[in-house]
Assembly symmetry: C5
C-alpha cells in the first residue's frame, strides 16, 4: 500500500452510474507530488495521512463489491509526519 | 484514479472484435505528457479534464463486462485547471 | 492503453505450454525506449503503430481466455506518426 | 516480486473492517526509498530483507482470501545485504 | 511482457506455505538494474535472457492456479544480446 496526504474533495457530477455517490478525494504522496484521486472508504479530512490500496484490491475495499476504483483509502495513519 | 486531459479521438479500424465500437480518446496528464488511450464511458470532448480508472476496474467501468480496457474515463471533473 | 511501435518478432522456443504458438512481437514506445514483448492478437508488421492493453485485460484480449499475457496488441492505429 | 527492507510497524487505528488486525509494516527498497506499507504474512522484524508480492496475488497471500492488500510480505530472504 | 537476464537463485527458507518449493530467481533488466525476484516456470540458468509476465497472469503461469506470484519466467529468448 502507499501513503498519501488528503488534499481536498473533488467533484465529478458527470460520472458513470456505477460510481454512485462515494466521496472522491484528491491525494498526494508529497506536497509537490502528482495529484491522484482516491475513493474514501474511511471518512477522512484534509491533511490526514492515509493508507491507500490499489490494484484489484481497491475495488472491494470501497465496501461495494467490484466498485470501479483502482485507489481506495483504507485507513488513517496514526502519528505520521510525512 | 488519475486525472487526464482529453486531446482528441483516435481511430483504430483494424482492432480485435471484442473492442467493438466504443470511442477511444487520446489523453495526457500534462500538455507534454506521454499520450495514453482511454475508453470513453462518459461522453467527453477535447479539453475536458477527466477521471480515469485503471487496473481490472477499467474493464467493467466501460459498461461492458470484462471489456479489454486498462484505462477508462469514468467522470468529467468539475472545476479543474490542470 | 499504451501506444507502441512494432520492431520485430521475437522467438522463445523454450516456453511454457500454455503460451502455445501465439506470435510475440518486440515493441517500443519510442525508438530509444525499453523493449517490451506483446502478444499480437491483430496481425501486425514491423513499423506499425499499435494499441496495447495491459493488466488483467491483456489475458482475454489474446483470444484465448486467461492466456498468460500482461501486454497484448489489440489494434493498429490509423494515421499515427509517433 | 520485489525486495524490501523492513523499517518498523505502522499503526492505523481507524481502518476499514475487512483489514481486521493483520500487522502492517513500513518497508523500503533502499534506505532513502519511498516508504511503502506491506501486510506481514510471515512474522518479520525490523532490518529483515523480505520478498513482497503485489498485484492481485497480494490479496490471497495474506492468508485471508480477497484481503484488501496490494503488497504482502511472503518470505524473509536468507543472506541478503541490500 | 518484460525481458530480464537471470542472475542467480535466491533462497527464502521462511516463506508462506502456499509458495511451496518453486524456484525463485534474481533477475535484472540491465546489469545495473534493480533486482527483481521471479518464479521460474521454465528451468533457466544464470545468464539466460528470459521473458517474464506480470500482473494477474503471473499467477497461473507458474503452473499452479492462483499461485502467489506477480512475476513469472515463461520463456527463454532465443538470440538476445541485451
Amino acid at each position: 500500500m502507499k501513503i498519501y496526504q488528503v488534499d481536498r474533495a473533488i467533484v465529478s457530477t458527470n460520472r458513470i452510474a456505477s460510481m454512485d455517490h462515494k466521496p472522491l478525494l484528491l491525494v498526494r504522496e508529497r506536497a509537490d507530488g502528482t495529484p491522484m484521486v482516491a475513493v474514501d472508504a474511511v471518512g477522512c479530512k484534509p491533511g490526514d495521512w492515509v493508507l491507500c490500496v490499489g490494484s484489484s484490491a481497491a475495488r472491494d475495499a470501497t465496501g461495494t463489491k467490484a466498485y470501479p476504483s483502482d485507489l481506495t483509502i483504507v485507513g488513517i495513519i496514526d502519528n505520521w509526519e510525512g
